[in-house]
């Protein structure tokens, strides 16, 4: 679906990612690495919020290297940033409604599905998103992405700063979305164990370099510790 060839990217004067190659099929594709490895940069670049410095990006056979973020969204890729992933001055319902801008099915139908998946959001639908707790905020962010009826979701460290209980719920929902809706997921995480439980394949980044690309089942602890430099 999504093919990444020789991708390099960065901010301002610094090149963070160098020469990354992989392709995502219909699966949960995990991106692991210690902090500073370049996971967020990778996802931001895939979402086209950062321009590529080199390499190319192909989505369902079409070259999208120069496509703008909003057009890519319309083509079926949703992105959930790690931080600032909701509109704080808008209500929960309005946040979800904005997620439903793209997609063809009736908005109400999709809204009902999201509320079904995250009943907590239904309880808080008129509350400002800025006043939600960390876990609820993450749920809203994922919910907003699901509203887009995407074929692929780029999910950046959804578990960061969440309590273990919330992490469990969230990963359950992610697995659920994959299983029941057939949506593919690129999941950037630092929390390797939880991720490996749900992921099909894993890309491990280390200090901006592609360290290894492996089946989730085949990855062992030693390889991981090496990548994390522990």
């Amino acid at each position: 679906m999504l093919d990444v060839t020789n991708l390099s990217s960065g901010y301002g004067d610094v090149e963070v990612l160098h020469d990354i190659n992989f392709s995502v099929e219909s699966e949960i594709f995990a991106v692991l690495g210690a902090n500073g490895a370049g996971k967020s940069t990778l996802l931001m670049t895939l979402a086209k919020l950062l321009p590529l410095r080199g390499g190319s990006l192909t989505w369902q056979g079409t070259d999208v290297t120069q496509t703008r973020a909003y057009d890519l969204t319309a083509a079926g890729i949703a992105y959930v940033p790690q931080e600032h992933n909701v509109f704080p001055d808008l209500s929960v319902a309005e946040n979800l409604s904005l997620g439903g801008l793209v997609g063809t099915r009736p908005k109400d139908e999709r809204l009902a599905e999201v509320y079904d998946l995250f009943p907590r959001l239904a309880d808080r639908k008129n509350q400002f998103a800025g006043s939600l707790s960390g876990g609820e905020g993450q749920m809203l962010a994922v919910g907003r992405a699901l509203m887009q009826d995407p074929k692929l979701i780029l999910l950046d460290e959804p578990s960061a700063g969440l309590s273990p209980k919330f992490v469990d719920i969230l990963f359950e929902k992610i697995a659920d979305a994959r299983a029941n809706r057939g949506v593919s997921i690129v999941l950037a995480e630092q929390n390797a164990v939880k991720t490996l439980e749900v992921a099909d394949r894993v890309l491990v980044l280390s200090l901006g370099q592609q360290h290894l690309l492996e089946d989730a089942k085949a990855l062992d602890r030693k390889q991981l510790m090496e990548a994390y430099h522990i």
Partner: protein, 249 residues
């Protein structure tokens, strides 16, 4: 120099604190590392220690053998003048100052920038110029009389600006990010010399754990806003909690 934290906490929203350190001391061992997974509160701790962020509760004190300074009532420039300085994680710089001018700015003690001084010809201070020359001879810039061009040069300049302030305690926030490997080695060598000569104590926050294991005498492990563990690099590396928090294993 040592930094002592007492009941230090910071919460942005009521309730869940991003950082909560009942008690802790940094800088006892000369060259220390501060590590932890994303969201552990490292940047918040750095901000609190240099008074860029105001704490919700608790206090920070700076001990330099004889005197103890309470940092709470101080502004960030006061903290710098006490000898506690931090390098920046994100690239920061003065876009209109050349590399040399930027170093001169840092090297000029505050208070020497007077209105009367404008009339006197005091822009060049021989001692300062010599020192700057020494740094520029050791660390090569493309054009030392021009502007820092690449991200690496800007990052290096940021570190040198802090060095030339002659801090007695230096906090380094991700010094290697964006820095070429050979420059990183040279920076660490310089830091090592200064620590050995007891000119300064250094605390390094780093993602590149190899660097921490290699250079630090002592490591603090921060996770979920608390210092979970501290010890020698060997002890920390062996500790299961560290791997668990980093990788969830």
């Amino acid at each position: 120099m040592k930094l002592h934290m007492q009941g230090l906490s910071k919460s942005y929203h009521a309730g869940h604190p991003v950082l909560d350190v009942p008690e802790g001391t940094l800088g006892e061992y000369g060259l220390e590392g501060l590590i932890g997974p994303n969201g552990a509160g490292k940047s918040t701790m750095m901000g609190l220690l240099t008074r860029r962020i105001a704490p919700s509760t608790g206090s920070v004190t700076l001990e330099d053998g004889k005197t103890t300074h309470r940092l709470n009532p101080l502004k960030s420039h006061d903290v710098a003048r006490l000898g506690l300085v931090k390098t920046n994680q994100r690239i920061q710089g003065f876009e209109s100052l050349t590399i040399r001018d930027s170093l001169r700015l840092a090297a000029t003690p505050f208070g020497q920038e007077t209105y009367r001084g404008v009339l006197r010809d005091t822009t060049m201070d021989a001692a300062i110029e010599t020192e700057i020359d020494a740094y520029l001879a050791r660390f090569k810039f493309d054009d030392p009389d021009g502007f820092a061009k690449s991200g690496g040069e800007k990052k290096l300049l940021d570190i040198l600006r802090c060095m030339i302030l002659k801090p007695r305690m230096l906090l380094m926030d991700e010094p290697t990010a964006g820095l070429p490997d050979d420059v990183t080695q040279e920076v660490m060598k310089l830091v090592g010399e200064k620590v050995k000569a007891k000119e300064m104590t250094v605390v390094i926050v780093e993602h590149d754990l190899e660097l921490i294991w290699k250079h630090c005498k002592y490591v603090h492990f921060l996770s979920e806003g608390a210092i979970l563990f501290h010890g020698t690099p060997k002890d920390v590396k062996k500790n299961r909690v560290v791997a668990e928090k980093y990788m969830g294993i």
